[in-house]
């Protein structure tokens, strides 16, 4: 009776929006519960991160990119790319254990299991929002705030879709293969260096560039960076990334729905 059609199951997800909201709220709150600074960490940790970036890339590794405008600190460009990457990394790294770590949701209560992989995505978006806020403040401080940054939420959609699709896929695999939660963070780490986070895509050797264009992460990061710098956004690459992301989401959900009946047996 589970909907084989991903479109229908996406509509069903909408029915659970209140429950999903509660789950995300719990997830975020639980991370800081009992900590001395409490929820303030949600703000403190990106701030510390940015401070370290400023120190390392502003004073130790001093570097310039060709497209970098005058007066724009290099580390802020890195940071804007990293915000996008972290959205992806947090979602995907946690995905394999989302269902596996909740056997009672699978076996003991009536629960829409398909929303579990959405929780890390939601939490990542909450953290991403605070990262973005800090970025905006920093950009304003250095007088490089452009209206293009308003497009940020729209521009990251391909990465959200990619992360979500992979999250469904990995969550399902994670139920059957425990090793997934060990393997995936390694791949995420690899992707951090294979995506143009710490370097511009233009620095990639020409013969590899078609391959790079296929990575939705790269295209999204480039688009976001263009928006931050106030230069023209490469919409074509972005559109490709969007399509790849959308396809990943639909395939991921279809796969999840295909194997979900076996979750209770495997856990």
């Amino acid at each position: 009776m589970s909907a084989a059609n991903p479109a229908i199951s996406i509509i069903r997800l909408f029915d659970h929006r209140y429950l999903l909201g509660q789950l995300i709220k719990r997830d975020v709150l639980l991370r800081y519960r009992g900590a001395l600074f409490g929820v303030a960490w949600i703000f403190l940790s990106p701030l510390l991160m940015l401070a370290i970036f400023a120190f390392v890339f502003g004073h130790i590794f001093q570097s310039r990119w060709p497209e970098q405008p005058d007066g724009m600190p290099f580390w802020l460009m890195l940071y804007s790319g990293l915000i996008v990457f972290n959205l992806f990394a947090e979602t995907v790294s946690r995905a394999p254990s989302t269902v596996r770590s909740q056997p009672s949701y699978v076996k003991k209560i009536i629960f829409p299991v398909e929303i579990l992989p959405l929780v890390p995505l939601g939490a990542a978006m909450v953290h991403g929002a605070f990262n973005l806020l800090i970025l905006v403040i920093a950009l304003a401080w250095f007088d490089h705030l452009f209206t293009g940054i308003l497009l940020f939420p729209l521009l990251v959609i391909p990465v959200l879709l990619l992360g979500l699709g992979l999250a469904w896929f990995l969550a399902a695999w994670g139920v059957f293969i425990k090793d997934m939660s060990q393997i995936v963070p390694l791949f995420v780490q690899m992707l951090l260096f294979l995506s143009p986070v710490f370097y511009p895509a233009s620095a990639v050797p020409v013969f590899l560039q078609p391959l790079y264009a296929l990575n939705p992460l790269g295209a999204t990061i480039e688009a976001v960076r263009a928006a931050v710098l106030g230069t023209s956004i490469p919409w074509n690459d972005w559109a490709t990334a969007f399509i790849v992301g959308l396809a990943t989401t639909l395939l991921g959900l279809a796969f999840f729905n295909h194997v979900r009946d076996e979750f209770a047996d495997a856990l």
């Binding site: 639980l30 949701y105 076996k107 003991k108 209560i109 009536i110 629960f111 047996d265």
Partner: protein, 401 residues
């Protein structure tokens, strides 16, 4: 064609689990596309059909491992049947495991609201119920403490309070009420009765016959994955009792047969015959029973007295009979003696016979546990006979004036 008031309709439900020896086998199975088998199969539920009408309370009785929980999980939609179909109409609240879905780091209040969210109730709807939940749970200020600090009783009370206040159409309860003290069980019963009167349908699993009889309109016995039809709770309970006794093992292992005496005369064998069931080998409570023995005396011997003792597996002597007609008889060679009863009138269980022969206060042969057998009180017979517990079953009636 199922009628309108049927809320749970199951047809030929079968659930087979695939057991994998190694986690990797599941992956191999996935990629082998069914060409090879890397698993064993275990059928937890076989060909179960049932119709439950709106407002009914149904009991399912069975041993551990009989498939009760699998059936409930299928009703809840947590598991998908391997074959057959199940249709459930209405919102189901499941109490399969107390406090499943509770997060120990969150407070009782937060967990209550979250359980509500799982059941599709938003904050405003839960606000309206929270007073009643807190009152029922009766845990005072602990409601704002993390649930990991709760005692198991408090945990249970909160879990039941929440599950019973989210206005389910159907409530499914698995053994949940077995824990908790008597006072709390009573409150649960009262709450369940109140919900029953509001037309809630309920499915209860228990191996506590008292609870089934108290709560349920109809019940079914589940044994090794197969289920009897739904029948009045009392009938189902009798059937279950029969099943329990059928599977009781004799307790001979602990006390081996003992034998002593001069053996100037001895029992060659002791046998039981009567109305023995060809399938389970048990004798019937209501059927005739005959204890027979071949005795052998090498030399002529007189003044021999024989005695048969019929004892329950607990060591209780149910019947003791000594023959008094042998004073003047001489025994030499082989003789056959027997004692017959028209009906043994004993309750289900394992029994044994002690056979004793004495001559002028000399013990010739005292054979403990000379024969062992089981008696079964059939369910149909149990309905007409009294004997809730105790060893003697008879046809009796109460009279009050």
């Amino acid at each position: 064609m199922p009628s309108d008031d049927i809320v749970i309709a199951a047809r030929n439900l079968t659930k087979t689990y695939r057991l994998f020896g190694h986690p990797g086998d599941r992956i191999k199975q996935f990629f082998s596309l069914g060409l090879r088998r890397y698993h064993r199969e275990f059928t937890a539920l076989q060909d179960v059909s049932l119709d439950i009408r709106k407002g009914e309370t149904i009991g399912i009785i069975g041993h551990n491992g009989s498939g009760k929980s699998t059936l409930l999980q299928l009703i809840c939609g947590i598991l998908k049947p391997t074959s057959g179909s199940i249709a459930v109409r209405g919102r189901v609240s499941a109490l399969l495991e107390l406090g499943a879905g509770f997060n120990p780091d969150f407070t009782g209040r937060e967990n209550a609201y979250f359980q509500g969210a799982i059941m599709g109730l938003d904050e405003a709807e839960m606000d309206g119920r929270f007073q009643a939940i807190a009152a029922f749970a009766d845990i005072g200020d602990f409601i704002d403490q993390p649930v990991r600090t709760y005692s198991s009783g408090m945990f249970l009370r909160l879990a039941f309070a929440v599950a019973s206040h989210v206005s389910p159409d159907i409530m499914v309860v698995d053994e949940a009420l077995a824990v908790g003290d008597a006072a709390f069980q009573q409150r649960c019963f009262d709450r369940i009765r109140a919900m029953q009167s509001h037309g809630m349908t309920m499915v209860v699993v228990s191996h506590n016959p008292y609870q089934i009889e108290q709560l349920c309109d109809r019940a079914a016995v589940l044994n090794r994955g197969r289920m009897t039809s739904l029948q009045p709770a009392k009938d189902a309970l009798s059937l279950y009792q029969e099943l329990v006794h059928r599977e009781l093992a004799p307790s001979t292992a602990s006390v081996p047969p003992q034998r002593e005496g001069t053996h100037a005369l001895y029992f060659e064998n002791v046998t039981i015959d009567g109305d023995q069931d060809p399938v389970d080998g048990a004798f019937r409570t209501t059927g005739p029973l005959r204890i027979a023995a071949d005795v052998v005396a090498a030399q002529a011997i007189s003044n021999v007295r024989f005695r048969f003792e019929l004892c329950s597996s607990g060591g209780l002597v149910a019947m003791m009979s000594t023959i008094g007609l042998t004073e003047g008889m001489k025994f030499h060679g082989r003789h056959r003696i027997s004692f017959s009863m028209p009906a043994c009138q004993l309750t289900s269980g394992w029994y044994h016979i002690n056979a004793i022969a004495v001559a002028r206060n000399v013990r010739l042969d005292a054979w403990q546990r000379a024969a062992e057998f089981s008696i079964l009180l059939k369910a149909e017979a149990a309905l007409n006979l009294t004997g809730d517990s105790g060893i003697y079953v008879c046809q009796g009636s109460w009279n009050i004036s």
